[in-house]
Symmetry: C2
Amino acid sequence: MRGRGPAMAEEAAVRAQADAVRRLKQDKADPDEIAKEVAKLLEMKAQLGEDEGKHKFVLKTPKGTRDYGPKQMAIRERAFNAIISCFKRHGAEVIDTPVFELKDFDIAGQFDPMIPDAECLKIVHEILSDLQLGDFIIKVNDRRILDGMFAVCGVPDSKFRTICSSVDKLDKVPWEEVRSEMVGEKGLSPEAADRIGEYVQLHGGLDLIERLLQDPKLSQNKLAKEGLGDMKLLFEYLTLFGITEKISFDLSLARGLDYYTGVIFEAVLLHQENEHVEEAVSVGSVAGGGRYDGLVGMFDPKGRKVPCVGVSIGIERIFSILEQRLEASEEKIRTTETQVLVASAQKKLLEERLKLISELWDGGIKAEMLYKKNPKLLNQLQYCEDTGIPLVAIVGEQELKDGVVKLRIVATREEINVRRESLVEEIRIRTSQC
Amino acid sequence: MRGRGPAMAEEAAVRAQADAVRRLKQDKADPDEIAKEVAKLLEMKAQLGEDEGKHKFVLKTPKGTRDYGPKQMAIRERAFNAIISCFKRHGAEVIDTPVFELKDFDIAGQFDPMIPDAECLKIVHEILSDLQLGDFIIKVNDRRILDGMFAVCGVPDSKFRTICSSVDKLDKVPWEEVRSEMVGEKGLSPEAADRIGEYVQLHGGLDLIERLLQDPKLSQNKLAKEGLGDMKLLFEYLTLFGITEKISFDLSLARGLDYYTGVIFEAVLLHQENEHVEEAVSVGSVAGGGRYDGLVGMFDPKGRKVPCVGVSIGIERIFSILEQRLEASEEKIRTTETQVLVASAQKKLLEERLKLISELWDGGIKAEMLYKKNPKLLNQLQYCEDTGIPLVAIVGEQELKDGVVKLRIVATREEINVRRESLVEEIRIRTSQC
């Protein structure tokens, strides 16, 4: 039993952390002080957690998420939930949070080309739309198209990778620089470089794919033709998903090519409508992925190639964008989900508040009350204003006689009497949008 | 861009892990082999994750949760959600998942005695009830009662702690052994030991509290009286919460006393109705907590004592109980939450399936489809049987003509035509219980 001590102390340390931060903030201490204080406490917390943490709901906090306050945690949770519910919407199963797997890819060939690939792009599209990160574009390309392109442009096989890494820079530096790197540093012939230049500056949709399928050089290359054929199929599926306006087939996209075997994609945020954010967070890549059929095969006892396509989301990047935006917008961020505060109009009603809040909790309602015996009604209403609780359930002698509860809508200050037995349902309905 | 490689490879490794395990299982390899394979993959995964993991939704898996499969993850998620939603129901805010803080305890004295303490017990009661872990009891005591008891029994102050740790053993060993430890090893007088014995073997409810308040010795001790008075208050509040039948005021409960300053409590599971489980998991403590007003004060610049009461849940213990039970019960555990499979009755309907599933995803429905161009209807229905998907939305030429979708309830094999525009709502209603 005494073994419990540490984990509880750990919990205490966490509360202490919140408490110290709050107090230091009140004292207008400089942020470094706060940071130091928090670090100290978390260190202690971590140590205390060592032995018993494993058995506790209160666990050692993972690196990287250590020093976040309730506000940031609320933002993070909101974003996390949006992403997780998107994965679940697509039938993903949790392999090991936060890693999900869509129904797999058991015996190779159990699926037809580009259907899962299209779903991965749909997932990225859904997540970025749900998170309202601002305008975005998902660049798509295919390793086979790149390899084919290099071949028909006269790049020697031995130079594929290094030339590819030059192309990869095109989202940051202008073509001229990339070209001189290819020719100057990497010894590619100027003719080959210019041919590449004609291709890698192209981007578009089905129309571009059709055009390249007619391209005298590319159409003669088996790999390129295969890749372009699949790219066309992909865009047909994306059209059915209604998301093509956010997808750009971009021949300069060349990510981790040693790794991918087919389609590759990358989602980038376009200019933020909000300058505050733009200053603070450099607009850029927030998600990426592609097909890597080979890799999983590596682990196959029988050496089979297991088809595999993956998405990965730049969650830390997304968090910081959301945090910056919310700071800029000065929107009040709730750190709890409390639907209703159970309040009393007169003194000596603590027992009645306890009875009512217990009914609400058992009815699945998120409810709070002040821990005071006889709190002033004004203080109770003020608490709702401060914490953003949308409803107040007020018990008073008259209401108790009449078997009703006065429900106050904080925003409008409107008050209605609700029969006690239908209070849970009433609260549920009125907060269903939250 | 190429920096992306590692994290994606990490993701691949995770898929590979699942894949390798699956395949090895098919090959009936012994579990050690699987474990080794998984360990190898996870090691690689961990390494690959090092540099980029922080920026990815796909993160290095925390120790302790590494080698869980989707089934276990599903069980864990279920339990985790039950606990988290309970905390949220009580207005807790996330300090640092999985650490929550109820609205705090800002200026000392902002609350009246035992109200938050009662809520903590209500929280434990709700969580253990929701999780259906079987019958349980929550033991409650108070440090002040213990200290007062030791005093009136004639235990010298210097021996409080060591005698307390002997009392703490009473849930495992009989009183006789504890007594001989007190007298033999710890040099307590037999008379004092016998007096302690009369108290620590008592447990009950309000009646016992009342009796002890009349106890000639205890009633003369300031600390004991204070503790008993608050314990009475606590039980009055717990009566209003309607949970007293699961609460036992137990004078032998003495956890981490150097640490707690007031109420202490501990929840223990009673005999499991299911022997399989009983064999496998030793019945015992699954949650605990108490008041530790001093501790947080340690961190207070002005040295104030900040009132603090904490709950901590033995989540690993709870997980293993749930896992054991589900194995024993042979209940089929779903690893996804998919509500409906979008299927087709005839060939050449891939585009129609893609259009429909996209509508469902955009409507917030969790939907899957087979990645085959022309899957057999029987295979599609079989997939639902295997994975536990409750509904099938079937598109066929006739349905498309009529602007309807055939909705099949897998369990009953009943089939109804639903107008396409009301399909999302129909699915939502039919799966609202899930």
